[in-house]
């Protein structure tokens, strides 16, 4: 019985099947909104699914000089890390599937793994453009990770816990304290764009400069899995932000909480699409500059505020 429940959780809900479907929906919402912001029709609703199926049916080319095993395994590692991270995030309740004291840090680490696989993928491709994209994605990692983590620490500090479900419970009891983390929320949204490598931080896959960036040599099935992992990362990243910064309405009926969860994630995806439509791509040194000079002080300010407020917090 336990094994069946675990398999159901891993393969169907909230695991692989749910995440991939929701990832495709989120990609559709992102692309459609982006198109509407540009005053055009945009893709039909099945577009991400058609892209995925088409890539599955294409020839997969592996460069002769690349390490074939590493090249083939990396997309699966990225996807596995993202799906694992989802088990620690509350979805239909203020409880998560595998929550324990300290799971916030585990989720943060699991969400770093896809970026590392992008780096390794670019490096393993033995292509100049891919290597350049790989180095850029690692440079970018050092810029956005610190503000993102600082921003995520603030709400945890206020709730005096490292566990996402204890945080959810605390904020359900004291919903007004959610507003204390507003600055951190803004910092996290911007830093998440960097994590997902989306405009204005899509420097690692800047197609006008370095062809396809990290994924230059990827084709067919492997590219399909990588794209799916990125879609899932978008959902899980947004779900993490929703769990940490928007923990309202968690005490309702599970179905309502689930609908609210979907709405929160799609709201964050819509915000990301708005950012994508508003800004152009930065150069890598502008990006690092922005993250350390503006995002980082903002995140520190949020931490300071939290430390002061936690003196009066219940």
């Amino acid at each position: 019985m336990g094994v069946l429940v675990a398999l159901y959780a891993i393969l169907i809900f909230p695991g692989l099947a749910f995440l991939s479907t929701f990832g495709l929906v989120a990609e559709y919402v992102d692309r459609k909104l982006y198109a509407r912001f540009q005053n055009r029709m945009g893709p039909p609703w099945f577009q991400p699914f058609a892209d995925f199926v088409k890539l599955l049916g294409k020839e997969t080319i592996i460069p002769a000089e690349a390490n074939a095993t590493v090249f083939k395994v990396l997309p699966a590692v990225a996807m596995a890390a993202v799906v694992t991270a989802m088990f620690y995030i509350p979805v239909w309740d203020n409880r998560s599937l595998l929550g324990f004291e300290g799971d916030l840090i585990v989720v943060i680490y699991l969400l770093t793994i896809p970026t590392l696989t992008f780096f390794l993928a670019g490096w393993a491709s033995t292509s100049l453009y891919a290597a350049m994209g790989a180095v850029r994605s690692l440079t970018q990692l050092f810029a956005y990770e610190v503000p993102l983590y600082m921003a995520l620490l603030a709400p945890a500090l206020l709730a005096r816990t490292w566990s996402l479900q204890t945080m959810a419970r605390w904020y359900t009891e004291h919903p007004a304290w959610m507003l204390a983390n507003l600055l951190g929320f803004l910092v996290a949204i911007v830093a998440l764009q960097g994590k997902l490598e989306k405009v204005p931080f899509d420097i690692p896959e800047a197609e006008t400069e370095i062809v396809g960036g990290t994924f230059t040599e990827y084709s067919g099935r492997l590219l399909a899995v990588f794209r799916m992992a990125i879609d899932m990362e978008m959902v899980v990243g947004a779900a993490l932000l929703a769990a940490v910064f928007l923990p309202f309405g968690l005490g309702l009926h599970p179905v309502l909480v689930f609908v609210l969860f979907l709405a929160k994630v799609l709201f964050l995806v819509a915000l990301a699409a708005l950012l994508r439509a508003l800004f152009a791509r930065l150069r890598i040194e502008q990006m690092v500059d922005f993250c350390w000079r503006i995002l980082m002080p903002a995140a520190l300010l949020q931490l300071l505020l939290t430390v002061v407020l936690s003196g009066v917090a219940p």
């Binding site: 055009r40 039909p44 058609a50 088409k54 396809g212 994924f215 040599e217």
Partner: protein, 158 residues
Amino acid sequence: MSVLSRVMTWARVKSPWIIHFNTGACNACDIEIVAALTPRFDLERFGILLKGTPRHADVMVCSGSVSRQIEDRLRRIYEQMPEPKFVVAVGACACSGGVFQGCYNVRSGIDKVIPVSAYVPGCPPRPEAIIDGVVKLLGTLQAPPKPPIRTVGIAPQP
């Protein structure tokens, strides 16, 4: 056709990613191709995305009369694309060499070097004609294989 291959054909028709390659054109066709990719013409309606790398692309949109210098590069980029792949020749030069037909320094047409699936004549063809060419090429994927189609560009009024 089995269900699986029908789903696959459907996906291929609905999601053609293109790569743009200039084989020595005067840039007029390229400007029209780039214009066709702008939000005004909204190619994402058909699922068309411009990709930077041939590894991601399904359709190569070529312009130019293939100068002898670029012939090898054209062949190499075509070979870098994963199967199944298609080529659309855009402009009079790409279709037949145009005004450069028979010159000592050109191969007079993309189809002298790599197989071409659709021709879009015009000097240069309008963005609408290019979109029409690509969409008609996708239409042929659903039907059993036929000889390549030739779309008719919008002729300038005398």
